[in-house]
């Protein structure tokens, strides 16, 4: 029983961290129809920023600064690498995204020297707590709660503000909303800002839990978060969050299955197999709108 709880706990916390990345994917995809391959690496860079900033500044100052810098990074990437290609074929933008991802990974390798970096311990979040007989970190408990709070705020923003309305309009129909006088570039910038900010929060939670950062640390969580976004129905925020939790839990359950079955190596492969199955049978995902041109 203790074991089952511990597996579920880590599943929920992994899922929560994926959720924060998945929102960034789903927002950007909803608006630009772009798989932002660099998003996972932005997440990794946010982790590295956390390390370098907490080394020189006290934590209450450095953590907000991490968010600010990550937002700046996301904003700059969009400005420099995606905006010039707005009129280009969709594939060029995706290639550009792969290029940015490559650049971020290589720069991180250069700066860190390719060594794994240790994420600082954050008071309270890193402390251990006992849940139903299993030891865990506070961050594991906090993550799902924080995700729910952030998603609620985000939903309010999207459903209740003018910019939110613009975002919804743009994701429905890019061209028409431009004709209606919506400042497309502003909307896209805001999308990237929100996505990056959430990625920064996600990186804080993720790396507090798994404190070693390598330049490749963002790639896998990034891809999985994307799968989560597709699973939940691309463009749908509650869908992405639910998808992320489901994938996180499935993954840890697979890892936790008896060793004699020897299937734990397929925890990543499972995610991708799930993706292919969903795309084939229910391409609009759990909550996505059925649209003819999407898949």
């Amino acid at each position: 029983m203790e074991y089952v709880i511990s597996v579920l706990l880590s599943g929920i916390s992994v899922g929560g961290q994926y959720a924060l990345i998945a929102i960034g994917y789903t927002l950007v995809y909803g608006i630009l129809r772009l798989i932002n391959f660099a998003h996972g690496d932005v997440f990794m860079v946010a982790g590295l920023l956390g390390i370098y900033l907490t080394a020189v500044l006290p934590i209450p100052v450095s953590l907000p600064l991490v968010i600010v810098f990550t937002v700046l990074l996301g904003f700059t990437i969009e400005r420099a690498a995606y905006r010039p290609l707005r009129e280009a074929p969709r594939m060029s933008v995706m290639i550009s995204a792969i290029g940015v991802s490559y650049l971020l990974q290589n720069t991180a390798t250069y700066v860190t020297g390719g060594q794994p970096m240790t994420y600082p311990t954050i008071p309270f979040l890193s402390d251990t707590v006992n849940v139903a007989g299993t030891q865990t970190k506070w961050v594991v408990i906090i993550t799902p709660i924080l995700v729910l709070i952030l998603v609620t705020i985000l939903s309010m923003l999207i459903n209740g503000t003018k910019i939110g309305m613009a975002m919804r309009a743009v994701s429905k129909d890019f061209e028409t909303s431009r004709l209606m006088g919506i400042k497309i570039n502003l909307v896209i910038s805001v999308t990237f800002i929100i996505g990056s900010a959430l990625a920064a929060v996600g990186s804080n939670l993720f790396f507090t839990n798994y404190p070693a950062i390598t330049p490749m640390a963002g790639a896998m969580p990034g891809l999985k978060a994307f799968v989560a976004a597709v699973f939940g129905g691309i463009g749908s925020i509650p869908g992405a969050v639910l998808g992320a939790f489901l994938i996180g839990i499935c993954e840890t359950i697979i890892k936790g299955l008896p060793s004699s079955w020897d299937v734990s190596v397929f925890s990543d492969a499972f995610t991708f197999a799930l993706l292919i199955v969903i795309l084939v049978f229910k391409p609009q995902g759990l909550f996505g709108e059925a649209a003819a041109d999407k898949v």
Partner: protein
């Protein structure tokens, strides 16, 4: 375009190029005073070999991405299939126990090369002939296995469009990798361990009785195989199938209305592209002299994609040129960026390990952003036209 193409100059030029490669790698044994760079072990030849292998895979990727408009990132997965097929089939039987030492030998004792040695004799010319024949058949089978898997997964994934196809093929490659690394399959795939001991490019060097090399062919072989494969791809592109592929790329709905069966053409392109990626995988195994699933990551696919983009999506000659440039830069020319350099006692700042890749990715970003057509766009080098131009002095290229 309607005029009949004159292939003769192209064929002559390529034949000339192949002969040039043989001369290049043997020239130092005739003139030992030539600089180190002509030594068959120098980086020049490593780069040439790797680039020859990569250019085949890049062209096969271009067939799919550039000519059919199907954006797939499964290349590494198909290369993996090819590499393992080639390796498993050609490891000599007597080496299998040593290679598969963790699993008490291979479940698959058959070795194609040994099979032919049984027919043609193991020593001298018979042995050489069996090895060459065995390798050729193994490479074809490598492609076939990759093509077959492409056929299987093509049914579900080819119904997906653009980015979804991208992510599904990427995921497929990851699943394959996990399977090939699974210890349970160890007796066949050797689990995490690499398969080695099979014939590599160097095995094609002709040696005399005492084992001294008399004719280097280790760079020529990848060039030859790649040239043949690319020629087949080019013929395909210029055929009616190729025109159908291009029309699918340009407008699916219109081409369907013109009577092109979308799915079967997409499948054909996907299977053929994967076939050659599989052959490329087999060649890659020969290049690195081992087959190990760890090498075939999504990073490899990204690299190939960037090569295709740099060369120009939809240009075979562009892909080939870009491969040689890319491989030479990343493996050789830009390596100096990774170590400290002094120019006249002044230490150049920033240069240290990893800087090469940073510069490299910046260059790639610049190309993607400012030269989105790549080196060649979707044009090809037309050798016949070039020669013609020289002869008559007419500026044909201008029209």
């Amino acid at each position: 375009m309607t005029e009949k193409k004159n292939y003769r100059p192209t064929i002559l030029l390529i034949a000339g190029l192949l002969i040039f490669v043989i001369i290049l790698e043997n020239i130092r044994s005739v003139f030992p005073w030539l600089p180190q760079i002509f030594d068959p072990m120098s980086p020049l030849f490593t780069v040439l070999k790797k680039a020859a292998v990569y250019s085949l895979v890049a062209v096969s990727m271009n067939l799919l991405n550039g000519f059919t408009g199907l954006f797939s990132l499964g290349q590494a997965g198909f290369m993996l299939l090819g590499a393992y097929t080639y390796a498993i089939l050609t490891v000599p039987s007597e080496l299998k126990d040593q290679v598969y030492y963790l699993f008490g030998g291979c479940a698959f004792q058959f070795s194609i090369v040994d099979f032919f040695k049984g027919i043609f004799g193991a020593g001298g010319a018979g042995g050489a002939f069996s090895m060459v024949l065995g390798c050729i058949i193994a490479l074809i089978l490598a492609g076939t296995v990759a093509g077959f898997f492409a056929f299987l997964i093509g049914f579900p994934v080819l119904r997906l469009k653009s980015d979804y196809l991208v992510i599904a093929t990427l995921g497929f490659a990851e699943i394959l990798r996990a399977f090939f690394q699974w210890q349970r399959l160890g007796p066949i795939t050797n689990g995490a361990n690499m398969i080695k001991g099979f014939p590599t490019f160097s095995s094609f060097n002709i040696t005399d009785g005492s084992g001294r090399t008399i004719l280097q062919l280790s760079t020529f072989i990848p060039f030859l195989v790649t040239t043949i494969c690319i020629a087949i791809i080019v013929l395909l592109i210029n055929s009616s199938y190729g025109r159908a592929f291009k029309s699918i790329r340009d407008d699916e709905i219109a081409s369907e209305a013109m009577g092109i069966r979308l799915f079967s053409h997409k499948m054909l392109s996907f299977v053929i592209s994967s076939f050659f990626a599989g052959v490329g995988g087999g060649l890659f195994a020969m290049y690195v002299a081992n087959a190990q699933a760890k090498a075939f990551t999504s990073t490899m696919t990204y690299e190939l994609l960037l090569i295709v983009v740099i060369g120009g999506i939809g240009s075979v000659s562009g892909s080939v040129i870009a491969t040689f440039l890319y491989v030479a830069c990343s493996e050789w020319w830009l390596r100096f960026l990774d170590s400290e350099q002094y120019i006249g006692g002044f230490k150049v700042p920033l240069l240290r390990n990893g800087f090469r890749m940073v510069v490299f990715s910046v260059v790639i970003m610049i190309i993607v952003l400012f030269f989105s057509k790549g080196i060649m766009g979707n044009r090809e080098i037309n050798i016949a036209a070039l020669l013609d131009r020289k002869k008559t002095g007419k500026d044909k290229a201008k029209k």
